[in-house]
C-alpha cells in the first residue's frame, strides 16, 4: 500500500476523521473569522473607492469570493463523489454530501450580492447575463443533489445516487456555460462585464484574496463540522461513537 492510500485509509476511518476534525474545527473557524474580519476591514475602509463605481463596487469583496467558492465547492463535491463511487469510502460520501448545502449557500449569496450590485450598476435586479444564468443553473445542480440525497431512505444509497448526480453535473457545468454564452450573444443581451480580477488594482486585489482565503477556510470548517454530525448519525451504533458520547458525558459532570 503506498503512502497516499495509507493516508486515505487512516484519515478515512471514521474515528480518526472525527478526532482530527474535532481538533481542527475551532482553529479553522477562528482563522476564517479573523482573516475574514481583516479582509472586510481592508476592503471596506482601507481600499480606495473605484473611479467609476465609487463605493458600490465594494460588494465584490463578498460577491467574488463567494462565486469562487460556489465553483470550488462543486468541484470538491464532485471529486469526493468520484472517490465515494469508485472506492466506496464512507468519509468521501459524507464530505460530498455535506459540501452540497455549503456550496449552495455560497452560490445563493453570489446570486443575491450580484443582484444587489446589479441594481445601482445596471439599473436592474436581474439580467440574463451568461455568468448569472450559469450561476443559477449551478444553484439548481446543488439543490438537485441535496434534494436527491434527502429523498432516498437508505443513507449510503442516497449518498451514492446523489454522488452520481454530482458527477453528471460536473460534466454539465462547462456545457451549460458554453451554451449560455452562445445564447447570450445570439440574443445580444446585456454586454456589461463584471470586473475581471486581472484588471483590478492591487489595493483592491489584496483584500479580495484575503477574503477568498477566509471563505476557503470557512468552507472546510463548515464542511468538517457538518460531516462530524452526519458521521455520528450514521455511525451512532458503533463503539467509537458510544465512547465519544460517554467521554463527553463525563466531561460535563
Amino acid at each position: 500500500m503506498n503512502t497516499l492510500t495509507l493516508w486515505f485509509h487512516k484519515f478515512g476511518s471514521p474515528p480518526t476523521f472525527f478526532r482530527v476534525t474535532a481538533l481542527l474545527s475551532p482553529w479553522l473557524f477562528g482563522a476564517a473569522f479573523l482573516i475574514g474580519l481583516a479582509g472586510i476591514y481592508w476592503g471596506l475602509f482601507v481600499a480606495p473607492a473605484d473611479y467609476q463605481q465609487s463605493d458600490a463596487y465594494r460588494i465584490i469583496f463578498i460577491h467574488v469570493p463567494c462565486a469562487w467558492m460556489g465553483l470550488f465547492a462543486y468541484i470538491f463535491m464532485a471529486v469526493n463523489a468520484f472517490i465515494a463511487l469508485v472506492w466506496r469510502i464512507k468519509i468521501s460520501e459524507i464530505l460530498a454530501m455535506t459540501s452540497a448545502p455549503v456550496g449552495a449557500f455560497f452560490t445563493a449569496v453570489t446570486l443575491a450580492t450580484g443582484s444587489i450590485w446589479g441594481k445601482p450598476m445596471w439599473g436592474t435586479w436581474w439580467t440574463w447575463d451568461a455568468r448569472l444564468t450559469s450561476e443559477l443553473v449551478l444553484l439548481f445542480l446543488f439543490l438537485g443533489v441535496i434534494g436527491l440525497y434527502n429523498a432516498i431512505e437508505d443513507r449510503r444509497q442516497a449518498a451514492r445516487a446523489a454522488a452520481f448526480l454530482a458527477l453528471v453535473g460536473i460534466v454539465n457545468v462547462p456545457i451549460v456555460h458554453f451554451s449560455v454564452s452562445w445564447w447570450n450573444t445570439l440574443h445580444q443581451g446585456s454586454t456589461v462585464r463584471l470586473l475581471g480580477p486581472s484588471r483590478i488594482d492591487s489595493s483592491m486585489l489584496w483584500p479580495l484574496l484575503l477574503l477568498a482565503l477566509a471563505t476557503h477556510i470557512w468552507f472546510f470548517a463548515s464542511v468538517f463540522a457538518r460531516s462530524r454530525v452526519s458521521l455520528l448519525e450514521l455511525e451512532g451504533g458503533k463503539e467509537w461513537a458510544r465512547d465519544i458520547a460517554l467521554a463527553t458525558e463525563h466531561g460535563h459532570e
Binding site: 437508505d154 443513507r155 449510503r156 450514521l234 455511525e235 451504533g237 458503533k238
Partner: protein, 215 residues
C-alpha cells in the same frame, strides 16, 4: 453449515463470510454455507431476518458489504451472472397487460431458453393449459405465481432463488412447487427457498439454513 457428503468437488454456490448491512445496520450475516448441485435448501427465519435480502444479494441485485459468493467456484460479479441464476421475487416480474405466453417469450428473449423446454409445455406443467392467451391481469394471484414458476422452467439457470414461492398458493399449488423443485434437483439444479411458514416438502426433509436477526 457444512454439507455432509458433497456429490461434486465444486459446490454450485458457496458463500463465505457473507454479510449485508443497510444504513450500517446489519441485515444478516456473516454467513457461511454451500449449496451443491441437486440440493434444495430452505432458508428459515422470522420477518425481518433478511431472507429476501439474502436472495437479492445471492442473485447479484445487491452488493454484499463483506464476504464472497462463489458460483461454480468462480467469483460472482454482476457481469458474470451468465445465465446461472434465476430469481423469483415476491413482485413476480410479470407484465399484467401481456398474456402469459407473451411474458414467457420476453423472459426467453432476455435470459435464454433451457434445452428441451418450450413455453407451451411449461405452461402445461404448471397446470395453466388454455390460459396462454389470457392477459396476466385477468389471472388470480395463484395463477400469476404459476406463470412466474413456468418462467423458471424455461430459463437455463441452474440455481433457483425462490422468495416465498408458497405464498398465494393452494394445496395443489404447494405440491406443484415441491414437484418442480424435486425435478429441478434431479436434473442437477439447486434451489434456495425462503419461507416463514412450515411447509412440508414431498421428498424427505430439506436442509435448512436458519437466519436470525443479528443482535
Amino acid at each position: 453449515m457444512i454439507s455432509s457428503d458433497p456429490p461434486s468437488p465444486i459446490p454450485l454456490l458457496q458463500a463465505e463470510e457473507l454479510a449485508y448491512a443497510r444504513n450500517d445496520e446489519p441485515v444478516f450475516g456473516p454467513l457461511d454455507f454451500t449449496l451443491n448441485a441437486g440440493e434444495v435448501v430452505l432458508v428459515e427465519g422470522d420477518n425481518g431476518s433478511g431472507k429476501t435480502t439474502l436472495l437479492k444479494v445471492l442473485s447479484g441485485l445487491l452488493v454484499p458489504n463483506s464476504g464472497k459468493i462463489l458460483l461454480n467456484g468462480e467469483d460472482l460479479t454482476l457481469a458474470r451472472l451468465s445465465h446461472q441464476v434465476a430469481l423469483l421475487s415476491h413482485l413476480g416480474g410479470l407484465k399484467l397487460d401481456l398474456t402469459a405466453l407473451e411474458n414467457l417469450r420476453f423472459a426467453i428473449g432476455v435470459f435464454g431458453l433451457r434445452s428441451g423446454a418450450a413455453p407451451l409445455p411449461a405452461l402445461a406443467s404448471v397446470a395453466l393449459e388454455g390460459y396462454e392467451d389470457v392477459p396476466v391481469r385477468n389471472l388470480s394471484a395463484g395463477q400469476k405465481k404459476r406463470v412466474a414458476l413456468a418462467r423458471l422452467l424455461l430459463v437455463p439457470a441452474a440455481l433457483w432463488l425462490l422468495d416465498e414461492p408458497y405464498a398465494n398458493l393452494d394445496k395443489s399449488g404447494i405440491d406443484l412447487v415441491n414437484r418442480l423443485l424435486d425435478s429441478h434437483a434431479r436434473r442437477g439444479g439447486a434451489a434456495l427457498v425462503t419461507s416463514h411458514g412450515a411447509y412440508a416438502f414431498t421428498s424427505g426433509t430439506p436442509r435448512r439454513l436458519p437466519l436470525r436477526p443479528t443482535p
